[in-house]
Symmetry: C2
Subunit: 210 residues, 2 copies
C-alpha cells in the first residue's frame, strides 16, 4: 500500500490496462511477467487487489450494467478506473531510480509500448549503468581474491560475470535501436531478425531471481 516497493501495483495496473481480468487469471499473467517464474501466491495477490480497490484505482467490471451477467459471485473481474489509468501512466512514464532494480526493470520493460522513447532510453541506460557498477565491483573483488579461491568458486563467479556482461550487451543493442529508428528490429516480430547487430547472443542473464 505505501509507496514502497510496489512492483505489484504497477504490474497489476498494467495488465488490467490491456484488458479486464479476474484474480486467478491475473496471477498467471503476473507470473510470466515478474522475473521469469516466481509463483506469486494468492495470499499476496488478493490482498493487493483489495488495496487497489480501496484506493479507487480498480473497480469490479460489470457492476451497474447487467445484474444477471456475473450475478451470483463466481469470478470477480476487475478493470481500471480513470484514476487507475492515470496512476499507471504516471508510474510508467516517471520511472524513479528504482526502475532499474532487477525485478522492477522487467515490469517497466514489459510496458514499454505505453511510453515514449525518452522514457525508454532513460530506463535502459539507468539499468545498464547499474549493471556496469556491478561489473566493476565484481571484477575488483575477483582480482582481490583470485588466489585464495578454489576452482568451483571461480567457475561460479566467472559464470555470473559473463551473465551480467551478456545483459549489458543486450541493453546496449536495445539502446542503439531505440536511438536509431525507433526499434526497427522490433517492429516486425515475424521477420527472422535479418542482419542487425547479432542480438541472437547466446549468453544469458544471471540467475533468475534477482
Amino acid at each position: 500500500m505505501g509507496r514502497r516497493g510496489d512492483v505489484l501495483e504497477l504490474a497489476v495496473l498494467g495488465l488490467l490496462h490491456e484488458s479486464p481480468m479476474h484474480g486467478y487469471e491475473l496471477r498467471k499473467r503476473l507470473n510470466s511477467l515478474l522475473g521469469a517464474f516466481r509463483a506469486l501466491s494468492y495470499g499476496t495477490l488478493y490482498p493487493a487487489l483489495k488495496s487497489l480497490l480501496g484506493q479507487g484505482l480498480i473497480r469490479e467490471a460489470g457492476a451497474g450494467q447487467g445484474p444477471a451477467l456475473t450475478g451470483k459471485r463466481g469470478r470477480i473481474v476487475y478493470e481500471l478506473t480513470a484514476e487507475g489509468k492515470e496512476r499507471f501512466q504516471s508510474l510508467v512514464t516517471q520511472p524513479g531510480p528504482a526502475a532499474w532494480e532487477d525485478e522492477r526493470f522487467n515490469v517497466h520493460f514489459a510496458f514499454f509500448s505505453r511510453t515514449d522513447a525518452a522514457t525508454r532510453l532513460q530506463v535502459l541506460e539507468g539499468r545498464r549503468s547499474r549493471l556496469q557498477e556491478r561489473l566493476e565491483g565484481f571484477r575488483t573483488s575477483m582480482t582481490r581474491t583470485r588466489e585464495r579461491l578454489d576452482s568451483y568458486t571461480m567457475e561460479l563467479e566467472q559464470h555470473g560475470l559473463e551473465s551480467v556482461e551478456r545483459e549489458v550487451r543486450w541493453l546496449t543493442e536495445l539502446i542503439d535501436s531505440e536511438r536509431a529508428g525507433n526499434m526497427t528490429h522490433l517492429e516486425d516480430p515475424d521477420r527472422p531478425r535479418p542482419t542487425g547487430p547479432a542480438r541472437s547472443g547466446v549468453h544469458g542473464a544471471p540467475d533468475r531471481g534477482r
Copy 2:
C-alpha cells in the same frame, strides 16, 4: 533455527569452515556468495549468528585462552564447533531438492570442493532438470500467447529464454566434466581453457544454439 529456507545457515557455516571471521567481514563474503550481489543486511546476519551460537554450531574464538586478547569488545570472531562442522558436512553432502532453487544452488555450488563427485552430479543434474522444466513451460506459454504480445514483451521473454538456455548449457558442460575425469577443465584455473566446447567466449559467442 527451523529447517526451512536456511540458506544463510549453510553459507555461514561454510565460510567459517574456511577460517574464523567476525560478522562484518562475514557479510562481505556472504554478499559475493549469495546470488551475485544481494546486500544482506546486518539486521539479518547478526540475529542469525546469535541463533547459530545458541544452537552450539559456532562459538566465539579466542574465548578461554588469553583474556586480554580480544578483551574489551570490539570485533567478535566466530569459529565452528565440532557440531558445526558435522552439521555443515551433512548439509552439504545431503542436498535435498531445495538445493536446486536459485539461491541455494549458488551456495551449494560454492562449497563443491567439500563434497564428493556423486553429490556434485546430483546437484548439477537436479538444477538442470529444474531449469528444463522452466524452459518447457516457458516455451508453451510463449507459443500460446505469441499473437497478442507486443514486441517489447516478446523481446523480454526471448532474452529470458536465452538466459535459461545458456545456463543449461553451462550445467551440461560441468556435468560432462564431472563425469569424465573429475573437473579436468577446472583443475588448472590458469590454463586458458584449451579446446573444450568453447565455454570461454566472453564476447558474442558464435554458438547461436537455441
